[in-house]
Symmetry: C2
Subunit: 393 residues, 2 copies
Amino acid sequence: MYFNDNFNSLTENYLFAEIAERIKKYTTENPEKKVLKMGIGDVTLPLVPAVTEAMHKAEDEMSQASTFRGYGPYEGYSFLREAIKNYYGTFGVKLNADEIFVSDGAKSDLGNVTEIFSQNNTVLIPDPVYPVYVDSNIIAGRKIIYTAATEENGFLPLPDKKIKADVIYICSPNNPTGAVYSQENLKEWVDYANASGAVILYDAAYERFISQTEASRSIFQIEGARTCAIEFCSFSKTAGFTGTRCGYTVIPNELERGGIRANSLWYRRQSVKFNGVPYVVQRGAEAVFSKDGKEQIQQNINYYRGNAEILANCLYKLGIWYTGGKNSPYIWLKCPEGMKSWQFFDKLLNEAQVAGTPGAGFGKNGEGYFRLTAFGSRETTTEAAKRIEKFLK
Amino acid sequence: MYFNDNFNSLTENYLFAEIAERIKKYTTENPEKKVLKMGIGDVTLPLVPAVTEAMHKAEDEMSQASTFRGYGPYEGYSFLREAIKNYYGTFGVKLNADEIFVSDGAKSDLGNVTEIFSQNNTVLIPDPVYPVYVDSNIIAGRKIIYTAATEENGFLPLPDKKIKADVIYICSPNNPTGAVYSQENLKEWVDYANASGAVILYDAAYERFISQTEASRSIFQIEGARTCAIEFCSFSKTAGFTGTRCGYTVIPNELERGGIRANSLWYRRQSVKFNGVPYVVQRGAEAVFSKDGKEQIQQNINYYRGNAEILANCLYKLGIWYTGGKNSPYIWLKCPEGMKSWQFFDKLLNEAQVAGTPGAGFGKNGEGYFRLTAFGSRETTTEAAKRIEKFLK
């Protein structure tokens, strides 16, 4: 018996484990100092009342024989798929409910979806990037090529017709850079994919943070996307579900190659290796789309947006280059004085007691950059901005 | 771009989809007849009070900023891992908490675990079998060989030293046959695996149904198993979690090949492609091990055992050969008069309005056999037994 030796090709340490270790070391050595954590993209506001009420109600149903639910549909209950379908309708995207697959989160689906593709495909991934795209393809032993996201292209690379790729990852609003594609630029990717037969895996986990109308909430707002794209979304950042676990994947029925539909393959994959999302969680997710739920969720999004604005204003005043913050909970800044990412991390931690995320952890083009997140409390964010300003002035 | 063409090698229709279709056809044509469904292995009793109380409490925590939980550990909260560890202690198995991985169900882990093994491994699977083992390996393109489970070996095949396999699936109490390995026979498998370097994937999803002391609740009750086995278990059948989704996988720290530990690889796989189980679900699962939880769960298990006894007695009286029913919620019977599985299915459906599961759906050695489950209500089970007796007498 041999293990899968592709695991040897993964980087030794997971980025956030390394960050946690350095913070721990600092706080152990400096117990009197309070470190403000502005790094990991986890939410801090609790679940909204509409969601918890729905979950309590569902829990009561599960405690009575007459309303108990056992195995649910692999692809999710239709009450939730219909709610998602209607939500897409609000920004003009028509879906069939059978194109929507409910899952335990965008991360799982983004990691697992590659199983429906041939081992021999070449995967195109922007650099810097959310590490899951890279690591899941390394584990599967696929050929990966990178497209450079840089300051010059606003961290929004466009397709290069000379490059041949089969599967393309796009994340917009981007994690980690917070940059957002315009509809016009997304159209270039869609046309490129349709022309070459490639498939776009579109990560829309942060779509609710979009406020500008020229940016897309969904790749399916772009003409031609239904024949070349799969979209991944999540309740994690939208509705604080990071610890509640629910997301969804949209695979249009028109997405096929050689007469085989991606939608059918994914249904089959899920029926073999997945058994659906907890009923109570699906009821909670459904409530996100109710009248009360929508209003309550919007308040939370506005709260995080306010945090992003505080951080953005701070950097603007300091004259530091950054992207994000407007249509995204992430702010991606250029480390001052030509510092490297980890150098700036250590300096900011040691001298201002603010912990962020070194851009180098997201890929080689992230070197020299740094990510801050808007998911903290207003108090922490305000204090962090104050410290950063004082430290960098 | 090409899809993974291993999907073409899967059987056209999922077994339970075919069954549902035939039942639907019958009930549409015979609307006045009530069909008793004794087929799919889904539970019918609601979640016990200890579990729903714990979930309500956790839900309240999630609704307050001070007690809200975001991303949890990939491997599960330590409160649940400690509870599982202590449970193993009750039957004499010592585990470290870091050997336990909480998941959304045994099915997901059984399907995904193959990612840590080399593509070139040969997989040994008993026939008949739970379809997930076969289908997940077909999708991955692995070489599969089968070991015959037959009436002659009591549907409990033993290792054949002439056969070389790298990864071996064992399910005991077995789905679909209900047969249970003795500790002595399991020891043969453990010795075989240790001698050849193979790894056993041990599916213990039905362990709570064991009442005989000579059978194992866990493969880790067998000497030597810590160097060759991974165990999968679930709250689905134990505590009615089929719609609530929680399970766990045990990977001993001693399980290594060539200096690489399976435990580390699985942790890495989960950190890349999974984000943990909902906090509220983990609190519900923890309550399964509380004093009240244990008592309430035991009552449910006893209820289903009572159902199994009713079915077993019926077959015994009729002189029909069967396995299971004693340490398992499944009863595996030989179709009378040499009938084939689907032939018996149709006959039983049409003439007695009882729907079971054709053994042929679980593999070629299942042909001529039939599965009944004990997860229905007492009323339905009693009525089904009555109809079967009347029909076969």
